[in-house]
Each structure stands twice: as C-alpha cells, then as structure tokens.
C-alpha cells in the first residue's frame, strides 16, 4: 500500500495549524488573564482541603494538556483534510497501525495509573480518622435542619446547638485543632457539604459516618457556608448551616455560652396565663387552629413528636406577614413551653421556621 499522502496545498496546513495555535492561545489567555480562576475550586480552608486542592491542580493540568492535544488533533484533521474538488482518487485506505495503537493504549494507561496513585495518596490524608481528636461534634441531620452536639473526649454530651442558621445557629470550631465529626440522620439521606473545605459526606440513616478536618490557623474569624448536598425533600435548599472558625479562646467562650443556654432554667410562665396545647407530627401541626385571649400573655405547651433530627418551633406572624414572635426550635421527641407576649386582637398565622408548609391559624380575641 502506498503510504505517502498525496500532495495537499500548503494553505490548508497554514489554516489548520493556525487554528490549533489559536485554540492553544485562547486557553492560555483565559488562564493568564485570571478568567480561568473560575475553573479552580475556592481557596481551601482546611489542612485536608489544601491536599485536595493540590490534587485538583495536578488533575486539572493533565486535563488541559489532554484537552489541547486531542482537541487540537481534531481541529487539525478537519481543517487540513477537507475534501477538495480535485480529490477524485481515494485517500490511502489505512486500516490501522499497530505501533500507534499500542502507544495510545499504553500512554493513557500510564497517565491514569499515575493519577490513581496520586489520588490514593491524597485520599489517605483526606479520609483519615484518629482516636484522639481535639474536638468531637455529633452532627444530627433532619428535614430540614442541622443540629450540632458537642461531645467531650469520652463521647459524652456537653451541649447541643439546636438553633437554625437564621437564628444564630450553626457550628463553631477552633482553628488549628483536629475536629472529628460523626454524622447521623433519623429520617432520610442528607449530605454535609462545605464548599471551602472541598469536602462532603453523606448522612445516612442507620449508619454513622465519620471524618476529620483541621481548619487552617489563618482562617480564624471566617464563617464558611455549608449546605445539604443530597436531595432530602421539598426543603432541601433551605437546609443550610455555617461553620465559624474561631481562636481557641473564642471557641471556649462560645461553647461555655452554649452550655449556659442549655442549662438555663426557662423563665416561669406568667401565673394565670392560659396554656394552649400543640403537637407537631409528620411535619404538620396536629391542631391547626388555636385561640388565645387578646392583650394578655399566654403559653403554648409544645410537643414535637417527629424523629429526633427533625426540629420544629411555633413562631407567629401577623396579617401583614411580619414575624411578631420568634421561638427557638426543639428537636423531635422533646417538649417545651413557649411563652408569648400579649398580642392585639386579630387573626395571626403560626408557623414552623424550618418547614414552610407547616402553618396554623391563631385567633386572638
């Protein structure tokens, strides 16, 4: 078989070569100008994320090289070898070439094996857990809120952050300290995800997942956005949390405050105030209509009968939609007496701050 290609005009080589150079130039300009920044993950905030970020950089460099090489070859081929009117004879009927075929099997194999080795190496750091973490946090996920139970070195309860993020909730951790997180869920699958930690881990009912991270020392004072990453129902998108990085001193004070809040005895209900009853079950209020006297304080004895991960409260908004009462959420399986300030006569809506479809009517007269 004749192996030499027929002569092609030099112009096609110039066009094709120019196009390939243009492709490389565009990619280079994108990255040199900083516009390519969007193709990198956000700045890593933990020791583990730094390693993941380094791995990403390597994968990304190889990816760009492969992309340019192969895409360049495609562009070259389609511009250089377009059929011309004088092409009446067939081109050489090449059926294959063992040498190049072995080459393009072995080289990619080598590349992916290297990538596997590198990612394996990084995984052993990112996914490692120890027996002596500095901080232990038990994260309880439920539709659609996060609770953070702080544990001591023996795994005993210290205090639980039950407030939703809108009410100053979220978790706090000291910088530079090994934080071990255990994850449990009582209802459906959720995922704990903090973009700047470059990490997520599923929260699966019936299974306890565990991971560790150490926030970089220079991140003290930063608040990291966190969000559920596994579809968990209609409120999936509002299942937000935050991780606040603190110095050890600030963290100790924060935790003490959390303990104090938890141990504080609630102020006694005003004597003689009427007591209403409400129960939450299956993410709805059992009693959708409540009546209270006008211009007098009252109490709602609230029982949350949902699974422990599912938190509820009873907030109140007036006819204009303005929130007039804001209570703290309580986890499933617990009770609390909420005390409400006097309200003017009228019709109000009471609602759960976690579940937008949980509402009822409060008639004040």
């Amino acid at each position: 078989m004749s192996s030499s290609p027929r002569k092609r005009p030099a112009s096609s080589a110039i066009v094709a070569g120019g196009a390939v150079i243009l492709l490389i130039a565009i990619v280079a300009i994108v990255f040199l100008s900083g516009a390519g920044r969007a193709l990198y993950p956000p700045a890593p905030a933990t020791a583990q994320a730094v390693r993941t970020s380094e791995l990403y950089d390597i994968v990304f460099a190889i990816a760009v090289a492969v992309f340019l090489a192969v895409e360049g070859l495609i562009v070259w081929s389609i511009l250089r070898y377009r059929r011309r009117p004088e092409d009446t004879e067939l081109p050489p009927q090449t059926h294959g070439n063992n040498f190049v075929e072995v080459l393009w099997t072995l080289i990619p194999t080598a590349i992916v094996l290297v990538l596997f080795g590198l990612s394996w190496n990084t995984l052993n750091v990112v996914d490692a857990t120890t027996n002596d973490p500095d901080v232990r946090i038990h994260v309880i996920a439920g539709q659609f809120q996060w609770q953070f139970e702080y544990l001591d070195a023996k795994g005993n309860h210290v205090a639980t952050q039950t407030k939703p993020i809108g009410d100053g909730g979220g978790m706090a951790v000291p910088v530079g300290k090994k934080v071990q997180v255990t994850l449990t869920s009582g209802d459906v699958i959720h995922a704990w995800y903090v973009p700047r930690f470059l990490f997520k881990r599923d929260v699966i009912p019936g299974q306890t997942n565990k991971f560790e991270f150490t926030v970089n020392a220079d991140e003290a004072g930063q608040v990291f956005h966190g969000q559920c990453a596994e579809l968990c129902g209609t409120g999936h998108r509002v299942m937000l949390f935050s991780v606040t990085a603190m110095t050890q001193a600030d963290y100790d004070a924060w935790l003490q405050n959390l303990v104090a809040i938890e141990n504080a005895t609630p102020p006694p209900a005003p004597s003689g105030a009427p007591v209403l009853k409400e129960e939450a079950k299956n993410i709805s209020y059992v009693n959708g209509n409540l009546q209270a006297p006008a211009n007098a304080p009252f109490v709602i004895e609230f029982t949350n009968s949902d699974p422990s991960g599912v938190t509820h409260d009873i907030d109140v908004k007036d006819a204009s939609g303005a929130v007039v009462e804001n209570q703290d959420t309580i986890p499933g399986g617990t009770k609390k007496d909420y005390t409400y300030q006097p309200l003017a006569a009228g019709t109000y809506t009471f609602f759960c701050s976690i579940h937008s479809n949980m509402t009822g009517t409060l008639t004040v007269q």
């Binding site: 193709l39 081929s77 393009w104 019936g206």
Partner: protein
C-alpha cells in the same frame, strides 16, 4: 450458520394507521421508536427549560410550590434517560441492525413490536403522576430511599409508585429488545457476514444488548423491592425495620452505570459509521475498536460505586482504579475516530458535522469525568453542578449529538428523501452553541459549591451570572429544535430524492432501495470485508453476483492497491 428460513409471505396490504399500529416490520417499528423518543425528548426538554427558568436568577420565579420544581427535574431526567436516549438508540438499532447484517427482519418481529409499545405506555404512566394527589415522582431520577419510602416525611403519593411501574415496564421492553438484538445478530447474518465483518454499529448494539440483558433485571429487582417497601410494608431499604438504604444505591447503580454505556455505545456506533463514509477511509483500527467496546462493556460492570464515593460505605480503591481504567478503552476509540479522519477527504455534510460535535464534546465529558475518579476531588464535586455538567457532556454532547448524526445519516434511507443541508447546519450551530453555553458554566457553578436539585440560591453566593448564561443557553438549545423539526416536515414532502446510496456508504443498508422494501433485500452483494459496498463500488469483488445494480461509474475511481478484506481479512 447464517442461513435463515424466510418469514411467511407478505400479508395482504393493510392501509395507513392500522398498518402502523399492527406492524411487525423492524423498519416501521424503528421509525416509531425514533418518533416516540423524539416526542419524549421535547417533553423532557420542556421540563428542563422550566428548571432553567427557575434558576435563571435568585428568588422563586415560577415554582411557588417547590415540590413541583422537584417533580420537574425528576421527570426531566427520567424522561430523557429512559424515554429518549435509551429508546432512541434502540430505535436506530432496530431500524439499522437487520439491514446492516443483511437480514429480512429482527429474529422475533412480534416481540419487537411488544418492546416498542411498552414504551409509550410506560411514558404515559410516568407522566400520569402529575394527575395524582401529591404529584409525580419528585425524588430525583435516582429515587433514593428513604426519601422514596411511603410516609409523610418522604413520598406519600402514588406518583412514586407510577414511576416504579413505568420503569419496570420500560426495563422489560429493554430486556426483550436486548434478547431480540442478540438472537438477530448471532443467528440472522447474511452469508459471508462473519462477526469481524459486522459494521461497528452492529457491534456496539451487540455489546449494549449484553449489558441490557445482564443489568436491567438487577434494577428491576431494586424497583420491585422499593415497591414492596412502599406498599406492603417490606423492610429492604427501611432503616427503622432493619433495612439498608445504601443497598438500594448499590443495586440501582449496578444497572445505572452500565446504562450509561447503553446510552453512549450505540451513539459511538453511529459515529463509527459516519466518520469513515465522510472521510472516504475505513475506520482506523477496526478490531481494536471492537475490543475497546467489549472492554468498556466489561469494565462498565465494575465501576458502579463511583456514584457513591461520599456514602462512606464503598471500597474506594477498587472502584477508583476501575473508573480510571475505563478511560483507556474510551481513549482508544477517540484516537481511532480522529485517525479515521486524519489524511482522509472530509465532506462536511450534516451527519459528519454532528459526529465531529460528538467528538469534541464527548472528549470534554471524558476529561471532566476523570476529576470525579480522583476520590478526594469527587468529595468536593459530587452532587454539585459539576456532575450535572459532566453527565450532560457525556449524554447530550455525546449521545444526543450522536443521535442527530444518525438521524441525518439514515433519514434518506428511512424516507427516500434527503434532509436540507442548510437547515441541518443551522440546527447544528444553534445546538452546539446553546449546549456549551448551558453546560460549560455548570463546571464553574459546581466548583463554587452550588448543589444539584435546589430550587433557589442566595443572591450573594456568586452563582448568579453563570446561572443566567446557562438558562440563555438552554433556550438556544430549545430554539435549535425548530429548524430540525421544520427540516423533517419539509423534506418528507419536498426533499431531494435520495436514491439507494446518497453518501457512498460502506454497509449493506445502502445496497437496497430507500426506503427498503418489506424484508429488505432482493439480492445482496458479496460480503468479503466490513465494507461490502465499498468493495463493490471499487471493483474489489472478484466475480460474485452482487455487482451491477448499484455501481456508480462516476465514483469508480479505485485506488491502486487495496487488499480486499482489509482489516477484517
């Protein structure tokens, strides 16, 4: 053994719609597959545009009931996967495979009809969920329990049950189709059509059918278990009674990862038919390509848990290694395609342009997949818009571009008329630009931390611009369907008459009339290589009875020395 007892004589002619409703002709069934799949493509596309409209900017725009948003993306994905891509490629295969192997029909024509008719039924059941209290299935196309268990905290309505039943029906259709393909390919090839002379399209359908027959019963078992959990108090996936939620994921992905190859291998087959014809060269490395296809099929069964890296319940090193390894045979194919064009003579008809679209976009879908194979990087990217970008570069940039390459390539065979080239190129440009505007920014969104399946996001999250770009791109994709539909409607009546072999094809479907008669062939050319028509056109067949009819003297420009049989000898 490739001889075959001929089917009974053609029954008395039945007119119009009755003929189409009762036909067992693989060509009519194939065309119905294609039309049915395209209708569901439009339905799935409308749901996608609703989702993109909602996400165009922060704040709730159209889905005041966010449950309907969850229904929309769930039904979008379910329709696109199970009612568009898989049946569309099965339809092209149903039409083309018997023609390419020189057979009069599929091995089981009635089962073939049954396979088809289960699809619209399944589709109607799926969409009927919207009419039920609680709406359609809303737990994503993956439908992970416990969210899909019955119960007020999960999926109380019958929509989820309809989803299960629809998927079981569609899966059964796939299994029947897969068996039909296997028997057809193994038992009904024309004399001379050895396995290593079969067109690549047939090979990819063969491997796909093996995947379907092996994997689909597994997802059916997952669906049945979920149905029992929901309706009869089963405890397969219900953790409160001892079930294991992750078990569902293992069983689901044991099917659904090979299903990715079910969705992409036949599209690769289409590309492998189109590129040689429009390059005037044989496929580079025919046998290597077949082994790569079989290799992808085999490795495809050992990577399913890479969808579950973040569950904490996966043996990570094995699945990470296998996931990296599957890039190798995929890369082999990419180079085979490029070197088919290399030193060829390329004619940029619409099928070739869509095939090149496949190459350039599927390459990105392969490369961004390697990021997720690196487990720590996957911890960052899993369940973000990065994954949405990746899967669309594979299934839209890959499969859908391949589907359109196939439609433009075989439309002349199916209808006897050519599609308009200008409209075809307008279609391509709009779709290519719209596709990249929609899905490339999703890489940035995923890296910036935007999770999948959320109806809204904070305005200060930094996600606004890319979301707007993606939505604009989505509507450009939508608009790109208009020139295509117009093209089909106009060309059916007034398109240029195609003749038997408008593209100078290599394979047997071009050896018969367009459209082919019932039972396909009056006579067959000799089959001495994987390109019997090429051999015939260039006088490479010594003797035999196949010459004459379709020889076009204008193209009788045989090269000096080509070994008859080529790579297949």
């Amino acid at each position: 053994m490739a001889t075959h007892a001929l089917s009974p004589a053609v029954p008395a002619y039945r007119g119009g719609i009755y003929e189409w409703l009762t036909t067992t002709d693989h060509k009519k069934i194939g065309i119905m597959y294609v039309i049915n799949s395209f209708v569901f493509f439009l339905i799935g596309g409308i749901f996608a545009l609703l989702v993109r409209t909602e996400l165009a900017q922060p704040g709730i725009q159209i889905f005041t009931n966010e449950h309907v948003y969850n229904e929309s993306f769930s039904i979008h994905a379910t329709v696109m996967i199970f009612l568009f891509i898989i049946p569309m490629l099965a339809g092209l295969g149903t039409y083309i495979v018997p023609l390419q192997i020189g057979a009069p029909d599929m091995a089981f024509p009635r089962i073939n009809a049954l396979s088809f008719w289960m699809l619209p039924l399944g589709g109607i059941l799926l969409l009927a969920g919207f009419l039920t209290p609680g709406g359609a299935a809303a737990a994503g196309w993956t439908s992970y329990p416990p969210l899909t268990e019955r119960g007020p905290l999960a999926s109380p309505g019958p929509g989820q049950d309809l989803w299960i039943v629809a998927l079981i029906l569609i899966g059964t259709s796939s299994i029947l189709g897969g068996i039909n393909f296997l028997v057809t390919i193994f038992k009904m090839r024309a004399p001379g059509m050895t396995l290593f002379r079969m067109p690549i399209m047939v090979w990819t359908v063969l491997v796909t059918s093996v995947l379907v027959v092996m994997a689909t019963p597994v997802i059916t078992s997952a669906l049945v278990m979920l149905f029992i959990d929901r309706n009869y108090g089963g405890s397969f996936f219900n953790f409160q009674t001892g079930g294991i939620p992750v078990l569902y994921q293992n069983v689901f992905w044991f099917y659904s990862h090979p299903a990715v190859y079910v969705m992409v291998l036949p599209a690769m087959g289409v590309i492998s038919e189109v590129l040689p014809v429009f390059s005037r060269k044989p496929l580079f490395g025919y046998k290597a390509f077949i082994f790569a296809t079989a290799g992808i099929g085999a490795l495809g069964f050992s990577v399913w848990a890479h969808h579950m890296f973040t569950t904490g319940a996966v043996f990570l090193p094995f699945f990470a290694l296998m996931t990296f390894m599957i890039a190798v045979p995929t890369g082999v194919k990419m180079f085979n395609w490029i070197f088919t064009m290399f030193r060829g003579q390329l004619t940029f008809s619409t099928p070739l342009i869509f095939a090149i679209g496949f190459l350039t976009m599927f390459l990105i879908g392969g490369i961004n997949g390697a990021f997720s194979a690196a487990v720590p990087v996957d911890f960052a990217l899993h369940d973000t818009y990065w994954v949405v970008a990746h899967l669309h570069y594979v299934l839209f940039g890959g499969s859908a571009f391949g589907v359109f390459a196939g439609i433009y390539y075989w439309f002349p065979k199916m209808t006897g008329r050519m599609l308009d080239e200008t409209l075809g190129k307008v279609h391509f440009v709009l779709m290519f630009v719209g596709f990249n505007l929609t899905f490339f920014p999703m890489h940035m969104l995923g890296l910036a931390g935007m999770p999948r399946r959320i109806a809204d996001y904070a305005g200060d999250a930094g996600w606004n611009d890319w979301n707007l770009v993606a939505t604009i791109g989505g509507f450009i994709i939508g608009v790109s369907m208009l020139p295509f539909i117009w093209n089909v409607l106009v060309s059916l009546r007034g398109g240029k008459i195609a003749g038997d072999d408008p593209w100078e094809g290599n394979t047997l479907e071009w050896a018969t009339s367009s459209p082919p008669p019932p039972y396909n062939f009056d006579r067959l050319p000799d089959i001495r290589s994987e390109r019997p028509l090429f051999d015939q056109r260039h006088g490479l067949l010594s003797g035999g009875h196949g010459g004459g009819d379709h020889d076009d003297p204008a193209h009788d420009d045989a090269p000096k020395a080509i070994p008859a049989g080529g790579a297949a000898s």
